[in-house]
Structures are given as C-alpha cells and as structure tokens.
C-alpha cells in the first residue's frame, strides 16, 4: 500500500511511504477512551477528596451528585467503547488485534523486544520500523493498559453496583469482585491504586509517543489522527 504523491512539488516527499494502520473505529476508541480517562481521573480524585463543603439548603445543591454522575457516565462510556474495541479486534485489521494478543511464544517477538529495550537504553542506535506497535509498546498496551482498564471497569462497576443495589445488572455482573478483594473498602482502595496505574501509564505513553515521533523512523502522533503510519526512511 505504498502511496506516491506524483504531483508533489517537493521531490523528497515522494520517498515517504505510508500504510493504513489504525482504522476509524480504533482512532475513535482511542480518543473517546482518552477523554473518558481524563474525566474519570479528575472526578475520581474529587470523589476521594470532595471539594469544600457547600452551604445553604441541601435541596439547593447537587454538587457531589453531579461529580459522581460525571464519573459514572464516563465509566459507562469507557466500558462501552472497550466492549466495542474488543469487537473490532475480531472484525478489524491485524493491527486491531495487537492490544489483545501478544505473541509471547514467538522467539522473533522476544528478539525484537530485546532490540527495543536496547533502543530505549541508548544501546541500539536505531529502532526497528513497525506498522503497529513495537514489541515493548504492545506488551505495555496489553498487560498494563488493557488489563488495568478491565480491572478498573470490574472494580468500578462492583462499587457502582453497591449503590444500584442487589439485583441490578452491575451488582449481578460485578458484585462478586467485592468478596474476592475482601470488602467494599478494600475494593475502593484497589480502584484508587488502579487510578495511579492509569496516570503512570499515561505519563509513559505520552512521553514515548512524543519521543518516538521525534526520534524514530516513523510517524506516531499523527497516525492516531489520520490512521496512516508514514516512514521517514
């Protein structure tokens, strides 16, 4: 799927190769998940540490209710796009499966992983070129981002189910998480710790994306907007 821009005024532009990596549903999922995560982290901290007490009559205000509403709504959005993303792993292109299936059994994968680790430790001079995720990124995406997302959805809906009550879908589907992790307070603590995993992941993700965009031989940031991965050499 090499694309040549034959009408380009700049002859150098013709050497750019690009392939279509992230299909529209994947890009949409990425940005919706990003926005949902920002809302969830922000409102999550407000739920742990509520804003200063509001005065007046209780009936005049619904501040904490709205904060929780935003958290729950963003949680629903995150869960729904995650389900749709899993669906897309089945029907989408091969890159769409990378978040869910990591070829841990492949020697090739580990060899390239080692190269990637050397690239990040400044031992290798150049990174390899990848259409989708590099082995290290794929490992993090699957075992940190997706696992944490599932964990946060499960613990989040378990806690949500406590409010909606016995027999509600959230309680039926995720209520088992509470005895599994101990009790409700323990689930709160785990959910809170998960928030920090999400924050730490996002820090690394942003740094690696910006760094790769500058130093690697391929596009990173624009790929999640246009879907096309361009190669610089």
């Amino acid at each position: 799927m090499l694309q040549y821009n034959e009408l380009s005024a700049d002859p150098n532009a013709q050497t750019l190769k690009s392939i279509y990596v992230y299909e529209a549903p994947v890009r949409l999922w990425h940005w919706v998940q990003a926005v949902a995560m920002v809302v969830l982290v922000a409102t999550g901290f407000l739920i742990s540490y509520p804003p200063p007490s509001v005065g007046g009559e209780a009936s005049d205000s619904f501040l904490f209710g709205y904060i929780r509403f935003a958290h729950f709504t963003a949680g629903y959005v995150l869960a729904i796009v995650t389900v749709l993303r899993i669906y897309w792993a089945f029907v989408g292109n091969d890159y769409a499966k990378q978040l869910f299936v990591v070829p841990l059994w492949s020697r090739q994968y580990w060899r390239e992983m080692w190269h990637e680790i050397r690239w990040y430790s400044f031992a290798a001079d150049k990174p390899l070129k990848y259409g989708g995720h590099n082995p290290l990124a794929q490992f993090f995406m699957c075992f940190v981002l997706m696992v944490t997302t599932f964990f946060m959805i499960a613990t989040g809906f378990a806690l949500y189910g406590e409010g909606t009550g016995e027999g509600s879908w959230a309680n039926v589907a995720f209520g088992w998480v509470i005895p599994l992790l101990g009790d409700s307070q323990a689930v709160h603590t785990w959910h809170h710790l998960g928030t920090w995993v999400v924050i730490t992941f996002t820090m690394i993700h942003l740094y690696a994306a910006i760094r790769e965009d500058i130093t690697s031989r391929q596009s990173i940031m624009s790929t999640m907007v246009s879907g096309y991965r361009t190669f610089k050499d």
Partner: protein, 389 residues
C-alpha cells in the same frame, strides 16, 4: 417437646384467638381460607426448635445486644419462640448440669437443632484456649456443629474474626466458616449486630424452618442487602456536597455528611440507618460520629476510622493509595525527564540521528557505532503483522 400451640395456650391465649390468628395469617399471606387449618396444625404439632448458643473467644457484646431486643422482646424469644436450651452466660444451670444439656440435645435432636456461635475458635497452640468442661472451644464447636441443622455466626467475631483476629492475630482466631465447612452458615456480622436483627434472624429460621436468603458473603439479604450510606438520613447532604470538615465546624453542628471525616457508611452493610439501635433511638451517624464499619471483614486492619482514603499495609509498605501511587508517578516522572534529557543529548551528538539533513537529503554521515551489524537496515515492514520481518 413443647409445641408453639402449647406455649401460646400457656401464655393465656384462647383457642378461639388462636384459630382467628391462623385465619388472619393465611389471609395476609395470600394463601386462602383452606390454609388456615394447616397453619393451625403446624403450630399445634411442630416442636419448638432447640437452639444451642456457644461462646468462644468473644466479649459477649452480641449477647448484651440480643437481650435488649425490643421487637420482639428478648424474653419472648427466649421463653416462647425458641427453645434456648444451652447458653452458658444466660442459663441458670452451670457446670456438669449445663454440660449434660448439651449432651442430651445433641444426642436426642440430631440434625434438628440450630447452633448459634458467638465468638470464634483460636487455633494457635493446638487450639488450647477457651477451655470449658476440660475441652478447648474448637473441640466443643466441632462436636456440637456435627449434628446441627444450621449454624448462625453471631457478630463480626464469628463471621470475620473481628478484633481478636486483627493483625498480628496472636491466638490465630479464625471465623466459623473456615472451621465448619459442611453446614449452612448464616453470618450476622456487627460488633455487635443490632438486637432486632439477631432476634429476627432466629425468628425467621424457626418460623419458616429454613435459613433466610443470603448474599454472596453469607449474610441475610433482608438486613445486609444495603449499605448504611444507602438509607442514611444525612445522604442528601452527601449528594449536595455538604460535608463535616472538622468535628467542631459549622457543618458538624448542622448535621452534614461525615464522609470527609472517614465515615464508613458507604462501605458498610448493616441496617443501622434504618432499624437503628436501642429500640430505634439512634445510631452512630445520628450521634454525630462516622460509622466505623464494624460489620465489615477485617475492619480493625483497614486503617483509621477517620480517613476516607485508608492506609494500605501490605508488602511491607505503609501509606494510603495516594502516597504509594503518587510516589510511583513521581519516580516515573523523574525517570521520564532523565530519559528525555539523555535522548536529547544523544540526538545532538548523533547528527539528528536519522542521518538526514534539513532538506531530507542523505547526509552520508550517519554514525553507526555498531559497524556492520545494522538491524535497522534489515527491518522491512510486514504488511500483515506490522512487525519487522
């Protein structure tokens, strides 16, 4: 064995009133008039179920709570509704006489009696604690439980372990369900549980001859189906965002929500906010103090009663989720900054790394410290996997 009818007659209830009661009961249950004689028959013939109440490692606060039940009165429960044959702190008999009752009931009513356990067995030192009649509690518990129809675990001790099982749990106090695994167990947690909850659970089991519907953790749904928070009268303040910030502030005087000062109502299952205590007079939150979550598993080890985000004590780490998570994020941030600095330094030294000049022309001066081994050059992109070939 005395039947319910015998007890009712002894208490001065006439036959006529009894039959009227049976008709009304049938009607109120929606069973129709044909069922009235059957209800009467059941009450006339069904013997009262014997209940054996054992005390292990405990503080007797469950008993103290139980005897204060107002609806029904504890005296009615003990004297009329159930046949409380053994309870060493309440019974008149003592010593060999008391022990004889235990022997008699377990032998004569095999599989018919209900075992109620207050406290739990300590298992350290071969279980040599709480010895009565020459036997440690663990032996007594296993012996009586063997032929019981069902087991009631009174309070947080029997249900979860409670204070005696708090870290480091020197006596290895162990909740009932970990020792008795072959009987249905009804957990009635709380330190202590509400009196009316206790009498109601017993009454339910005697009346319907089955254990109440339990939740995932073995607690009766009718009392432990909701959190204290769900029915708290201060809940509107929570939703409004009106909180007590300090114990002596304006919010505290106005009765705002105690969430910020560590109330465990949102994580505790007990009907305190609906049934309340001492004949419905009050409960902790109504008295201005947050719930401490005494009905929850391991509440002594779950950090301060006054923190919303509680301490984590695991893997040798002490700190709450934010101190731990914040430390991880800070270390990550520092590592990222250092890595970014090194990257910039290396790029500056490596002639922009890519080997292209500003116009995209090959400079031909690409530095290659690896000599002939250049994995980058061999990497072609496989269109299917997206992975370097």
């Amino acid at each position: 064995m005395e039947t319910f009818y015998d007890v009712l007659r002894r208490q001065g209830i006439t036959r006529r009133s009894f039959v009227k009661f049976c008709s009304l009961t049938a009607t109120s249950l929606g069973l129709g008039s044909a069922f009235a004689p059957r209800i009467a028959h059941a009450l006339e013939t069904k013997p009262r179920t014997p209940v054996l109440w054992l005390h292990g490692l405990e503080c007797t606060c469950c008993s103290e709570s139980f005897i204060r039940s107002a609806h029904p009165l504890a005296k009615d429960v003990v004297l009329s509704m159930l046949s409380l044959d053994y309870d060493d702190t309440l019974m008149a008999a003592a010593g060999h006489q008391a022990h004889a009752i235990l022997e008699e009931i377990t032998a004569k009513h095999k599989g018919e009696y209900i075992l109620a356990v207050e406290g739990n067995p300590p298992l350290a030192e071969d279980g040599m604690f709480c010895i009565s009649g020459g036997k440690p509690f663990i032996d007594k518990l296993k012996w009586v439980a063997k032929d019981a129809k069902a087991v009631i675990a009174w309070g947080s001790c029997a249900s979860w372990g409670c204070v005696q099982a708090a870290k480091p749990n020197p006596t290895q106090a162990t909740p009932i369900h970990k020792v008795i695994t072959d009987k249905p167990i009804v957990k009635v947690p709380g330190c202590p549980p509400i009196a009316e909850v206790m009498t109601a659970v017993v009454t339910y089991m005697l009346t319907f001859d089955r254990i109440p519907e339990l939740d995932r953790q073995g607690r009766p749904k009718m009392f432990y189906g909701q959190r204290i928070h769900d029915k708290c009268y201060r809940r509107p303040h929570f939703d409004a965002g009106q909180f007590v910030e300090a114990w002596d502030d304006e919010g505290a005087r106005k009765g705002y929500c105690l969430y910020k000062v560590g109330c465990k109502g949102p994580t505790s299952y007990s009907p305190c906010s609906t049934m309340r205590w001492n004949e419905g007079v009050s409960f902790p939150i109504a008295s201005g103090h947050g719930c401490i979550g005494c009905s929850e598993d391991g509440f002594w080890d779950k950090g301060s009663f006054y923190d919303r985000v509680t301490q984590i004590n695991a893997f040798g780490v002490e700190g709450n989720a934010d101190r731990i998570g914040g430390a991880v994020a800070a270390v990550t941030g520092t590592a990222i900054a250092a890595h970014a600095g090194l990257t910039a330094l290396k790029r500056a030294r490596l002639d922009h790394g890519t080997g292209f000049d500003r116009n995209g022309e090959e400079t031909g001066q690409r530095r290659d410290p690896q000599g002939g081994r250049r994995p980058a050059e061999t990497a072609a992109v496989d269109q299917n996997t997206g992975r370097g070939a």
